[in-house]
Symmetry: C2
Subunit: 202 residues, 2 copies
């Protein structure tokens, strides 16, 4: 059985009857939409978190080390290992946000920038994208970080091969970090899985 | 310059002074924590969205096609192409949730299940994990889907190679979908990027 993704024009977009904002939650602004389910014709209230675009950066030094940041994360209540990144400011280009976040969070600047594409952090309730950037030839331009009052960050560098090992060991598991890294290095041994459990992709 | 991730014991966890819940937003429950930044000793209010764990499933049919779902997503206001998935119910094992979501959303059951690991959807404000599962030998067990009132889903199947092309064309970009798929098939040509812009990972 194989059905075309556009068979009979379904699924249809939902019709919006009304929208109501709630007070900002700093990182995003909740909005309740009243929408009609085209399958049932019933109206439903659905939540959207209006969220600015995000950026993150796979940043490699001149001696080919990956720049990492460690910080306490409030969601998981743990110290995580991640790549630098943050929110795109209002009116700012995401390319500029990537350079700014790298400089503010790590004190590094890059010789060359390559766009790696964008992902949807969660289309079910976020309206934003996360843009991935590759920064190469990175070098220190500042010894002190420009941290927000809400940040406490430790910067360090590590060989890419060691980073891939950390991913496979489950020590780095923020999905937006993995998504950016995966566009620069292979993180998983997919071949073995396909051989054991499924078809070959090529 | 390379600093150990644990240098001087930093970054430290933040001390929680108090917690206050807001009314549930259906998908999650907002909680404001008052925390002390160990770098500045200043208290700050930080938002956590308490969220149940999620699951998603890379499901392959007996004739080696990937099972995909198309649905209207309220965050992006677009129809997306994704793999099946959803929330783990209270008290439910995520392995059971994966089997339930596959059956409810697509009408398929699998002969074999392989755990692909978990990721943090966003440790900055979510406290949950998304568990990735591989389901092989999938076959139809029901012709009608068990959809929630808030769902309108079209199911179809497609060759894995075609799915990888869709990813590279930017037609599939939900990061949790990409994260699961990446553990079964190679989605990106990382070698060319490293050759052009950076070091080799191995």
């Amino acid at each position: 059985m194989s059905e075309s993704p556009t068979s009979a024009g379904r699924p249809l977009p939902w019709t919006k009857l009304s929208s109501r904002h709630e007070p900002s939650l700093l990182l995003f602004r909740p909005r309740w939409d009243k929408l009609v389910n085209p399958r049932t014709q019933q109206p439903m209230d659905r939540l959207v978190l209006e969220t600015p675009d995000w950026v993150n950066v796979v940043a490699l030094t001149e001696d080919e080390q990956l720049i990492l940041v460690r910080q306490y994360r409030f969601g998981t209540s743990t110290v995580t290992t991640e790549i630098p990144g943050g929110m795109v400011d209002r009116g700012e280009a995401h390319a500029d946000a990537a350079q700014r976040e790298l400089r503010e969070e790590t004190g590094y600047a890059a010789r060359a920038w390559t766009y790696l594409g964008a992902v949807e952090p969660n289309p079910a309730f976020h309206d934003n994208l996360c843009h991935h950037w590759l920064a190469t030839g990175c070098h220190k331009v500042s010894e002190h970080l420009e941290l927000d009052a809400g940040e406490d960050i430790v910067v360090y560098t590590e060989a890419l091969t060691r980073v891939a090992e950390r991913v496979r060991a489950g020590e780095i598991r923020h999905v937006l970090v993995l998504s950016a890294l995966q566009r620069v290095i292979d993180l998983y041994d997919t071949t073995a899985r396909r051989r054991n459990h499924g078809p070959h992709a090529d």
